[in-house]
C-alpha cells in the first residue's frame, strides 16, 4: 500500500474552491485513488502480456472517478459489493496492492490464497465484501448486508456497484423492490459505460437511461451523475449516504462513463464507432482532475508527489507479488467449510 502523502500539511492553500464542501484532503485522496486504480489496472494489463497473469481480467480504465468518489465518501466500516470488473472498488477500500496483484498472478501472497483470481477480489476486513462474477447476484446480497446494519442499528451502509448490463437482469429488479419495501440503507450505483460486454446498451434496453429511467418504478428519485468527475460523484455519494444512514432508505444512481478498453482481455473493442474512444479520451477523468487541482491552487510539486508515490507503490507491489511463491498445494483443500476443511464424509 502506498504511503499517505503529507502534501496537504506542507502546502496549505487558501483557495475557496479547494476548501469547499469537498475540501483539499478529500480531493487529494480522490486524485491518489484514481491514479492507484489506473496504474494497478495498467500494470495488470502489462503483466497479462508477460503471461504472469492468467485467466481473464476486466479493466475499468476510464471509470476510475466513480469508485474513487464513492470510496472517499465511505466510512471504513461500510460495506461495498462490486462485480468482476472490481479491481477499482476493492482498491479504494484501502486493500493491499501486493495482495491484489498477487491474487491476479496466482501467488501465495494473493488476497484469496490463489482461489479466486481477478473476478472475486474480496477484503472483508476493509469492508470490501466481494466481487461477483454472475451478473446481478450481488444486488440482493448487498441488500442483505444493509439489512444486518438496519437490524443491529450499526449506522453502516452498503454500496453496490454494477454495470449497465445488469439493469436488464431479474435480480436488479428484485433487489430494488426489496430494498425499497424494507427501507434498507443500501446505495445502488450503476456505472453506465455504454456497452453491455460487446453490445451497445442502447440497443438492448427499453429506456434511454438504463438505471435512472427505471428508478421511478420503485418510487426512487432518478439520479444521473457525470461518472468522469470525481467531485460530482463524491457529492452525489454524500447525499445518498446521508439519506441511507438517516433511515431514508435506498438510492439508485446512474453514473455516465466510458470504458477505454474492451470488455475483457480478449476484446479489442473493434465494434466501437470510429472516433468514439478519442472523444471520451478527451474526458479522461484523471488529466481532467489533475488540471482542476492545479486550477484550484494545488502546487504542481504536490500533484507530482502523489503521482510519483503511487507509481512507486505499484512498482513495489509488482515486485513483491512477483517474488511470492505459488500457493502451497494444500490450499486447494481448505476453506470449503467453517472448520477450514473440505471433508464431506466420515
Amino acid at each position: 500500500m502506498a504511503k499517505k502523502t503529507t502534501a496537504k500539511k506542507k502546502a496549505p492553500t487558501n483557495n475557496a474552491q479547494l476548501n469547499d464542501d469537498i475540501g483539499e484532503e478529500n480531493r487529494l485522496k480522490m486524485y491518489r485513488l484514481q491514479l492507484e486504480v489506473r496504474h494497478i489496472e495498467q500494470r495488470a494489463h502489462d503483466l497479462f502480456f508477460q503471461n504472469l497473469i492468467k485467466g481473464t481480467s476486466h479493466l475499468a480504465l476510464g471509470q476510475e472517478a466513480i469508485a474513487s468518489g464513492f470510496g472517499t465518501a465511505l466510512r471504513p466500516d461500510d460495506y461495498t459489493f462490486c462485480t468482476y470488473r472490481g479491481h477499482a472498488h476493492t482498491l479504494v477500500r484501502g486493500t493491499s496492492m501486493t495482495a491484489m496483484l498477487g491474487e491476479l498472478m496466482g501467488k501465495e501472497c494473493g488476497m484469496l490464497k490463489g482461489k479466486g483470481g481477478s473476478m472475486h477480489l474480496t477484503d472483508v476486513e476493509k469492508g470490501a465484501m466481494g466481487s461477483y462474477a454472475i451478473i446481478g447476484a450481488h444486488l440482493p446480497i448487498a441488500a442483505g448486508a444493509a439489512w444486518q446494519a438496519q437490524y443491529n442499528k450499526t449506522g453502516q451502509i452498503a454500496v453496490c456497484f454494477f454495470g449497465d448490463g445488469t439493469t436488464n437482469i431479474g435480480a436488479f429488479h428484485e433487489a430494488l423492490n426489496f430494498a425499497v419495501i424494507w427501507d434498507l440503507p443500501v446505495v445502488y450505483v450503476c456505472e453506465n459505460n455504454l456497452y453491455m460486454e460487446y453490445t451497445p446498451i442502447s440497443e438492448v434496453t427499453a429506456v434511454e437511461h438504463p438505471a435512472a429511467d427505471r428508478a421511478s418504478a420503485y418510487g426512487l428519485e432518478s439520479i444521473i451523475v457525470d461518472g468522469n468527475d470525481a467531485d460530482a460523484v463524491y457529492r452525489v455519494a454524500v447525499t445518498a449516504f446521508d439519506k441511507a444512514r438517516s433511515g431514508g432508505g435506498p438510492s439508485l444512481i446512474e453514473a455516465k462513463t466510458y470504458r477505454h478498453s474492451g470488455h475483457s482481455r480478449a476484446d479489442p473493442a473493434k465494434y466501437r464507432p470510429e472516433g468514439e474512444l478519442e472523444e471520451w479520451l478527451k474526458k479522461d477523468p484523471i488529466p481532467m482532475y489533475r488540471q482542476r487541482l492545479l486550477d484550484y491552487g494545488v502546487k504542481e510539486d504536490v500533484v507530482k508527489g502523489i503521482e510519483d508515490s503511487v507509481m512507486a507503490a505499484v512498482d513495489e507491489a509488482t515486485e513483491a507479488a512477483k517474488a511470492s511463491p505459488p500457493p502451497p498445494l494444500e490450499y486447494a483443500y481448505t476453506d470449503v467449510w467453517a472448520d477450514g476443511g473440505s471433508s464431506w464424509r466420515n
Binding site: M129, I134, P140, G144, Q148, A171, D335
Partner: protein, 325 residues
Amino acid sequence: MAELIYREAVAEAIAQEMRRDESVVFLGEDIAKAGGVFKATVGLWEEFGDLRVRDTPISEQAILGAAMGAAMTGLKPIAEIMFSDFLAVCWDIICNQMAKSRYMTGGQVDMPLVIRTANGGGARFGAQHSQSLENWAMMIPGLKVVAPSTPADVKGLLAAAIRDPDPVIFFEQKSLYATKGEVPDGEHIEEIGKAKVVRDGDDVTLIALAMMVPRALEAAERLQAEAGISASVVDVRSLVPLDTQTILSEVRKTARVVTVEENPRLCGWGAEISSIIAEECFYDLDMPIVRITSPHIPLASADELEDIMIPSVDRIFETVRQEVD
C-alpha cells in the same frame, strides 16, 4: 416426551433457536402473518415480531441474496423457499454464491444460514411442485444437505442447522407435514452428519431418506411377517456430510443393500452411496446393489399416476422380496 406434528416441529425448532440467539432472523413468502402456506411457521411472528420474522415479496433471488448478505455480516438467517422446485429461480445465489464464497475468498467470508424448503411428492401437485431435489444440492461443493423423516429430527436437525456455521439446505417432505411423532421435551438438538439405524435387521439393509423412511419401515415389517426377511433400515438424514461409517457398517453386516429414493433415477443420492459401497465393501456383498427410485420422468399429478411413480410400500416390499430370495 411430547407428541408433535412434523410441521409443528419446524416452528418449535425455529422458536427454540430464536429465543437463545438474537442474531437468528427468518424471512420468506407468507411465513410471518400467515404462518406459512404449510402452516409450519405458525406463532413465530406473534412471538418474535416484525423485525425478526419478515414476509417478503415473491422474489426468491432477493430472499436468498438478502439471507446471504445478512449471514456474511453477522446475522444467522433462516430463509424459506416455499417449494423446493422454486430453488430453480434462485439457484445462482445458492450454487454460485453461498456455496463458493468462503472458498473463493480464501476463508474470509462466513455463511451461517439455513434454507428451508418443502420438497417431494405425494400431494398431487404435479411436476413443478412435487420434485425431490436433494440431489441438486448434494452435488454442489460447499452446501450441507439435510432431510428429516420424523418430527424429532425436524426439531433437532433444524436447530442444529441454524447453529451450523455453514450453509444448510433443509428439505422438509411436504407429505410428512401432517405426520406425528415423539419429540424430546426441552431443548432438543441433533448432530448433522449422522445417519440413524431406525430398524435392526440381518438379511438386507434398506437405505432411505425423508418420506422413503416410513415407507421402508412399513415394507420391512411386511418382509418380516410375510417373507421371513429381516431388514435393517438406515435413515440417511444428512446427505452432506454423509455418514458413510454407519451405512457401510450396516451393509457389511447384512451383505445385501437396497437404496430407496424418491428422486428420479439419474444421479439420485443412492447412486453416490451405491458407488461408495461398491468401492469400499464390494467383497462383503452377497448380491448386486439394488436402487428403488422414481422413474426418470417428470412427476404426474393424478392419484394413480403419481402413486406408481414414487416408490410405494408395495414396490419396496416386492422388490426386496424378489432380490433377496
